[in-house]
Point group: C2
Chain length 194, copies 2
DNA sequence: AAACTTTTGGATGAGACGTAAAAAAAGAAT
DNA sequence: ATTCTTTTTTTACGTCTCATCCAAAAGTTT
């Protein structure tokens, strides 16, 4: 009996993700959101709660889609070294989409809202361990394959990969010199060749 | 004949650096600054101009002091491998000061104000090349010493170091597990022994 | 018709940045 | 010493934007 919503909830949420991703939390006003989401102000509050609540939902959506995307990307590549190489090529933005200069929503949030926000810290902390685990599992697969030496400290290397990934997402906002980043990634992945 | 200022201009600027560093540009209000700097509102505008102008001055001061600090730190260590190791130990924050959780003012600014700010982009771009050059020169010293192989691509490795440095400054805000970062740095520096 | 949501349009109170005019202070000159 | 000039400090204000909420009107399904 209720009047149905005239918009798709997750579709609109994706627009909020794009906006917060590009501009961050503090410089995105509710008015910006109202204009960009294409729904009414009251509908916005009704559906997602206040600004912070909407931001939390947007961040969570990004996180999940990001993790899932990473897992699927790697799952499709049996050659671990090649898989990592390609993953980082995408991260660097060889195919220069408009999203490259926005960096990573998670990284941007880390630097903007920490320290001083326990809830966000919790979410970001979970994200960190989740992605490091993805890396570690993938590396283990390579060790089982015989592609990677058993002597490799997979935990430390997973951490190295994640740190490098974060650094790339920062530097992508400054430099459009992809070759430089690509070379440094190659150097790093050379560790896997003993 | 003029009445002298009752405060030290650079001393107060350092307080502004600390505040912008911790909170970023948008969530630091002029009122916060007035309270923290200990000078009057009008004095603030008189001396440093508007908020953005003050921010620029603060960022520049941080950049210069950061670069100089890095150069002097490395200049004092003739063993290049050991020097890099120690530099990153400091960056990781083994001696856990209160500044560790603030990350790096430059990194924070990169993610907060880019894309969309050409002036800031210019400053951050200069900073990037300056620090990469510091790394590259230091590595060259190691090659001349015979400490590092002549086959090393110093430019790529300098880029790797800088990227890693940025990543560390992000992750320092999330995790207080310094050992993990330390291990990954060791793994990276192991490339120099290859 | 009833029930519920969306839309419209505005009210509100807080806080933002920046400025202007008056008051106070410090040195210089007579 | 006193007055004058210049600058800082104080205080108050103006204008704007912010986030949030509310009441009434319009629309859609059962």
């Amino acid at each position: 009996m209720p009047r149905p919503k005239t918009f798709d909830e997750t579709e609109v949420l994706d627009k909020a993700v794009a906006l917060f991703w590009k501009q961050g939390y503090h410089s995105t006003s509710m008015q910006h959101l109202v204009d960009a989401l294409g729904i009414n102000r009251a509908s916005l509050y009704n559906t997602y709660g206040d600004k912070r609540s909407l931001f939390d939902k947007a961040l969570e959506r990004y996180r999940i889609s990001n993790q899932k995307g990473m897992e699927e990307f790697l799952a499709g590549r049996t050659s671990v070294k090649q898989g990592l190489k390609e993953l980082f090529e995408v991260a660097i933005g060889k195919s220069d989409g408009p999203s490259t200069e926005k960096g990573c929503f998670v990284v941007n949030t880390t630097t903007e809202l920490l320290p001083g926000d326990p809830e966000i810290l919790k979410a970001l902390s979970e994200n960190k361990t989740a992605i490091e685990r993805i890396f570690e599992n993938y590396l283990s697969k390579g060790v089982q394959n015989g592609e990677i030496s058993k002597t490799l400290d997979t935990k430390a290397f997973a951490s190295l990969l994640f740190t490098q990934y974060n650094g790339i997402k920062v530097l992508s906002k400054i430099s459009r010199n992809r070759q430089e980043l690509s070379d440094s990634v190659s150097l790093m992945l050379g560790i896997l060749d003993g």
